[in-house]
C-alpha cells in the first residue's frame, strides 16, 4: 500500500496544503444536495409491507398478483397514513450534503432516527473553508467579512507554528464554516419532521429539506409529492394523493410499479 498516494488522493496529506481562501456565501447559494442511495423499488417495499399481515399458509408475494392500479390504491393508503407507519420506516435514503454552515449540521444531527458521517475539522486542513451565512440574513458588512479573514489568518498561524495541527488551529474556526456530510434517514422520520419558521435554525433546516425533497422527487415523483407535507398543508397534499389515477403517474413511477424483479 502506498500511503502517500492514498493520502494525496483523499486530500489528507499534510504536506499538501489547500490554498488559503475564504468565500463568504449565503446558504441559498452554497447548498448542494445529492441523493446518492435509495431502495431499489420503494413502491414494492411499501406495498409488500403494507399487505404483509394478510395471506394464507403459502404467504404468496402479492406484488405479482395485483394490477398496477390496485398497487397504487395500497400505496395511496400508505402515503395518506392509513396503514401502519412501519411501511414508511422501511424506506431509507442516503444524501450527500455540501455547503451548510457547521452550526446547521450540528442542528441537523439532533433529528431523531438519522445517521450522519461528516468531514472532520481535526482530520482536514480548513484553510480553504468558506463561510456560510444563514438565509434571511441582511447584507454582510465589510467588518464582518474582514473578521473572518482575520480568523483564517490565525488558523494559518497555528498550523505554521511548530507542532501546530489542524486540530489545534480549529480554535479559530467559526461555526459558520462550510461543512459537508452524508446522512441517512427513513421516510417515516423525514415525514414526521416539524419546522418552526420563527426559529432561524429550523427555518434554514427546512430549506435544506426542500432541496432533499427536490432530489427525491427526481427519482420517485410520488414520494416527492408525499414529502411536500413538510412544507404544505397535509390535508391538501393527502387529497391530491387520493385523487391520483394510475395514468397520471410519471413514467419513472410507472416503471417501478410494473417492475417484477
Amino acid at each position: 500500500m502506498n500511503i502517500e498516494e492514498l493520502r494525496e488522493a483523499t486530500g489528507t496529506c499534510p504536506s499538501i496544503s489547500p490554498k488559503k481562501r475564504t468565500k463568504i456565501l449565503e446558504l441559498k447559494d452554497s447548498l448542494e444536495v445529492f441523493l446518492i442511495d435509495y431502495p431499489y423499488n420503494p413502491y414494492r417495499s411499501m406495498f409488500s409491507t403494507a399487505t404483509a399481515t394478510w395471506g394464507d399458509n403459502e404467504y404468496k408475494d402479492k406484488w405479482f398478483l395485483i394490477s398496477e392500479e390496485n398497487k397504487l390504491e395500497v400505496l395511496k393508503a400508505v402515503l395518506t397514513h392509513n396503514t401502519l407507519p412501519q411501511t414508511r420506516e422501511m424506506i431509507n435514503f442516503v444524501c450527500r450534503v455540501r455547503g451548510v454552515p457547521r452550526w446547521l449540521f450540528d442542528y441537523h444531527t439532533q433529528i431523531k432516527f438519522t445517521t450522519f458521517m461528516s468531514i472532520g475539522c481535526r482530520d482536514n486542513n480548513k484553510l480553504d473553508a468558506d463561510i456560510i451565512y444563514e438565509n434571511q440574513s441582511q447584507n454582510i458588512s465589510n467588518k464582518e467579512t474582514k473578521i473572518f479573514f482575520k480568523l483564517k489568518d490565525l488558523y494559518e498561524e497555528v498550523i505554521k507554528k511548530g507542532q501546530g495541527s489542524w486540530q489545534s488551529a480549529r480554535v479559530f474556526l467559526p461555526q459558520g464554516y462550510q461543512h459537508s456530510y452524508y446522512f441517512g434517514q427513513n421516510l417515516l422520520s423525514m415525514a414526521n419532521m416539524k419546522f418552526d419558521t420563527n426559529d432561524l435554525r429550523s427555518y434554514n433546516l427546512q430549506f435544506v429539506y426542500s432541496k432533499i425533497i427536490q432530489e427525491i422527487n427526481k427519482k420517485f415523483p410520488l414520494i416527492g409529492l408525499y414529502l411536500t407535507i413538510l412544507h404544505n398543508n397535509k390535508d391538501i397534499v393527502f387529497n391530491e394523493i387520493r385523487e391520483i389515477k394510475y395514468k397520471d403517474l410519471s413514467e419513472l413511477d410507472k416503471e417501478l410499479f410494473e417492475k417484477n424483479d
Partner: protein, 229 residues
C-alpha cells in the same frame, strides 16, 4: 486563565468541571462545564445508551484553548496580541448580530448534561481514555472516571483505554483506514506502535499535562512499567 479587556481564555482542562448529578445501577448522569464547543460536537456523536441535554454556549466572551495553543500565546506576544484584538472585534460583531451561531468559534465555552448507561460509558471510556483523542474529551473522561472511582463505584474501576485491553497501540495500526485518514498524531508511547507513520509528530493529548491539570494520577501501562518508561 488569561483575561484581557473582556475576553477570557482558559487553558486546556485546568478549569474543567464535571459534576455527578445521579448514579445508580443503570448508569450515570453528569454535567460538564468549561469545555469548548468542539468537545461537545465530538462527545455528542455517541449514540448508544447515551443522551445529551441542556447544551448551552456561553454568551460571555469566554474561550477554552488547547494547552498547546494557549502556551503559544506566551511564547509569542505578537501572536497573543493578534488573538486578543481579533477576538475583541469578533465579540463586537457577535453582540450586534441577531443570530450568533455563525460567530461562535469552536473554542467558545459551553456546558451540557449527559445521561449514560454503564455499558455505554464503558465503551466510551475504552476509546476516550486513549491519548490519541483530543485533550478535552480525554480530560473529561479521566475526570469522570476518577470521581466515580473515588465515590466507590466498582464499575468505574474497569474503565480503561482499549489499548490496555489488547496490550498494543491500536491507533497506529496499519489496518482499516487509519493510515489514510485517521493516523494524524504520533502514538503516545503507552504501548509500542506498529507504525511510525503520523501527520504530526506529537501525541494528540499530553499525559503529563492532563495529570497536572486535573490533579489526578494516571496509572502507567504494563508495557511502561516493565520497560521503566
Amino acid at each position: 486563565m488569561i483575561r484581557i479587556s473582556n475576553i477570557t481564555i482558559l487553558r486546556g482542562c485546568v478549569n474543567l468541571i464535571v459534576d455527578i448529578a445521579h448514579v445508580d445501577k443503570s448508569g450515570v448522569e453528569y454535567t460538564v462545564s468549561n469545555l469548548p464547543i468542539c468537545c461537545f460536537d465530538q462527545h455528542s456523536r455517541a449514540r448508544m445508551g447515551v443522551e445529551f441535554y441542556d447544551y448551552k454556549v456561553t454568551d460571555y466572551p469566554k474561550y477554552v484553548f488547547y494547552t498547546h495553543v494557549y502556551d503559544m500565546m506566551f511564547k509569542d506576544i505578537n501572536f497573543a496580541n493578534h488573538i486578543f484584538s481579533t477576538l475583541e472585534k469578533l465579540e463586537t460583531i457577535r453582540e450586534k448580530a441577531s443570530f450568533k451561531d455563525t460567530y461562535n468559534l469552536m473554542s467558545r465555552m459551553c456546558s451540557y448534561r449527559v445521561k449514560q448507561t454503564w455499558e455505554s460509558l464503558k465503551g466510551q471510556m475504552s476509546r476516550r481514555l486513549k491519548f490519541c483523542e483530543e485533550e478535552f474529551i480525554v480530560g473529561l473522561h479521566f475526570k469522570l472516571r476518577d470521581i466515580l472511582v473515588k465515590e466507590g463505584w466498582e464499575e468505574a474501576e474497569d474503565f480503561k483505554p482499549f489499548c490496555d485491553v489488547i496490550k498494543k497501540c491500536d491507533y497506529s495500526q496499519a489496518d482499516y483506514l487509519s493510515n489514510m485518514f485517521g493516523c494524524l498524531f504520533a502514538s503516545c508511547g503507552r504501548w509500542p506502535a506498529e507504525s511510525d507513520y503520523a501527520s504530526f509528530n506529537e501525541s494528540c493529548s499530553n499525559v503529563v499535562e492532563i495529570e497536572k491539570q486535573l490533579n489526578i494520577r494516571i496509572e502507567k501501562s504494563e508495557y511502561e512499567i516493565e520497560n521503566k518508561i
